[in-house]
Symmetry: C2
Amino acid sequence: MTIQAKFERMGTDAAPGQEVRQQVGDIETLLRGAKLEGRQVDFSHGDVDAFTPTPGSFEVFTAGVEAGGKQAYTEYRGDISIREQLAPAIAEFTGAPVDAADGMILTPGTQGALFLAVASTVAHGDKVAVVQPDYFANRKLVEFCEGQMMPIQMDYLNVEGQAGLDLGQLEDAFKSGAKVFLFSNPNNPAGVVYSRDEIKSIATLASHYGATVIVDQLYSRLLYSGVDYAHLRAEAIDAENVITIMGPSKTESLSGYRLGVAFGSKAIITRMEKLQAIVSLRAGGYSQAVFRTWFNEPAGWMDQRVREHEAIRDDLLKAFRASEGFKVRTTEAGSYIFPQLPKLAVSGKDFVRILRLQASVIVTPGTEFAPFSDSSVRLNFSQDHAAAVAAAERLVALVDRYRA
Amino acid sequence: MTIQAKFERMGTDAAPGQEVRQQVGDIETLLRGAKLEGRQVDFSHGDVDAFTPTPGSFEVFTAGVEAGGKQAYTEYRGDISIREQLAPAIAEFTGAPVDAADGMILTPGTQGALFLAVASTVAHGDKVAVVQPDYFANRKLVEFCEGQMMPIQMDYLNVEGQAGLDLGQLEDAFKSGAKVFLFSNPNNPAGVVYSRDEIKSIATLASHYGATVIVDQLYSRLLYSGVDYAHLRAEAIDAENVITIMGPSKTESLSGYRLGVAFGSKAIITRMEKLQAIVSLRAGGYSQAVFRTWFNEPAGWMDQRVREHEAIRDDLLKAFRASEGFKVRTTEAGSYIFPQLPKLAVSGKDFVRILRLQASVIVTPGTEFAPFSDSSVRLNFSQDHAAAVAAAERLVALVDRYRA
């Protein structure tokens, strides 16, 4: 494949935050009715002004700058004293040991960790099992590495108490040679958590077929009432076959510092560090200091944050469920909700553009996550509560206006 | 190639800053004499405690944090108002227009820019012309992209008034199908600047053969007295065939913020943004604010910084040239010096380890930059002046001790 052809497949125009680069084009001819007034809400990412960064994060950053060269130039895999502080906390959270020296790497955001993990395990032509729907970058990472994608369906809308992963499809993928399985838990965009049984089955299958599992647990700390969360790495699976990715960028609103961490397989972490050395050298030196606030928040702060998000979720569910034809699964963790809209007279992608133009509501089109999700949209509801609810109501009103 | 085989070729153990991961092994058996006392100097990178960050950089970072979400979530290619501030300054410096909207991208460090540029132009099997010696990551980037490297020799030790690039070899590489040429100017590790004639010849050859040139000009602002610097992008070459990379990470001692910029070809910048979206999303949002100090330093501050580096260079040259058998080219820009040592009884790589153990002096082995540079070592002399000179003297003393 030529480099031009490779990049033509990797679109980002509909990616979150990139709306500014879209051309309005001929959307005007599709418009019905007048603009709905209201404060703009950008559901494509969380609002760090509504949910502000962890208390003390700026102060530890400042201390990092003051520490000077020692903090600016760390090992490529990150400052050892920070890794040593984090490892026990992460081990306790995930229920399995973490080796600070050889089994973890600090990265520029969880996106950085995800890229390094995939590019360190997938060579040209390798088969990779990827969930649909799942985080849009997963597919693009496999395409960039010129891997062969094997989609695994997740029927999240028609099940309860589980994510709805098609385990038969996953086994078939392993049987036909997939050596890597990549998924997010909680799922991005659907906000569902894999059941303990599903996680156990993934561990059993991956062990049986000797596959590596990369699990993106970015939102696993933002867990709602009554939900049981199972960590894959704590199940019966060879520790060298699992890479877990987390980061303080979302729940903690620390995205502006670009921090992520990957931990698990020492062999893969070693490759990831080699690659980081030529991709970005290291997570920003001063920013690394901000990790000191992670799993180290003031007492009660995280509980409060989870409760506030749960209250927004409840109100959005109400708004969507009150309108005929919406199908939506209750978010179990994280701040994404992924309603399926009723049948409209315009395509899902056009509706997303109309929503921005006529209602000042920015959402991410479902096709970013699965080819069959054209009728769904993703909202990150880590927003000002009242503004989010008002925006969801405008969305519902516009859906009514454009029904087929 | 399997992913394991691919990564086995990409070593980083001898890379700058990674000494902590080396095993001491059997080096003890090679040691002669006692330890030389003196303050440790780590020449593998600049000392940001000796040369501190641009005045005002922390203050604009702080303002970035205070700006909140707007600064945390920018376009993947970086905040537009920052690009608009930088573009005219960079255009003036390099002598050719820069398009803030479509012709530039902000990246996590210049390493980030270099990775994106190479991975956006080199596909599996593509031929790439790479200078020897040159920045060690260049070779590794081509290996990661599974390109085919075509080495171009630079005879920097035996020429004056030019870098000594073998233009015949470069033309042969283009003739045999190389579509990308990658080089640093000033050269890292040798500190030499390409003559105007050499730059003109590169422009002519690349234009004739339709090749893309990626030029890493990271150190081009740290230019010493009497040296003429030619910017490739200002020569007669199609602007769509050039990507120029710079950053405020070195001369300005802002490495801890991880900032770089690439500008030029709109088609390639578009690909680089698509790739950045899955590699790291964006340069750290708050860190991007620090760009506001770039090309915007207090009056006289940059001149003073250049003079101070030139004074250190002069003293190091004196120290090396006073010792028989050293060959060293005068650094013309940047803070690297790359002396060739006299014949020793130990390998270059072992001497580097001995130097660290017996003299508390850390340098980067020449083999990181070219396979034939085993007898050279690279020093980044952006250090405390007195400590750097004392360390260079210990290096000379150890060379005497280990002469063949």
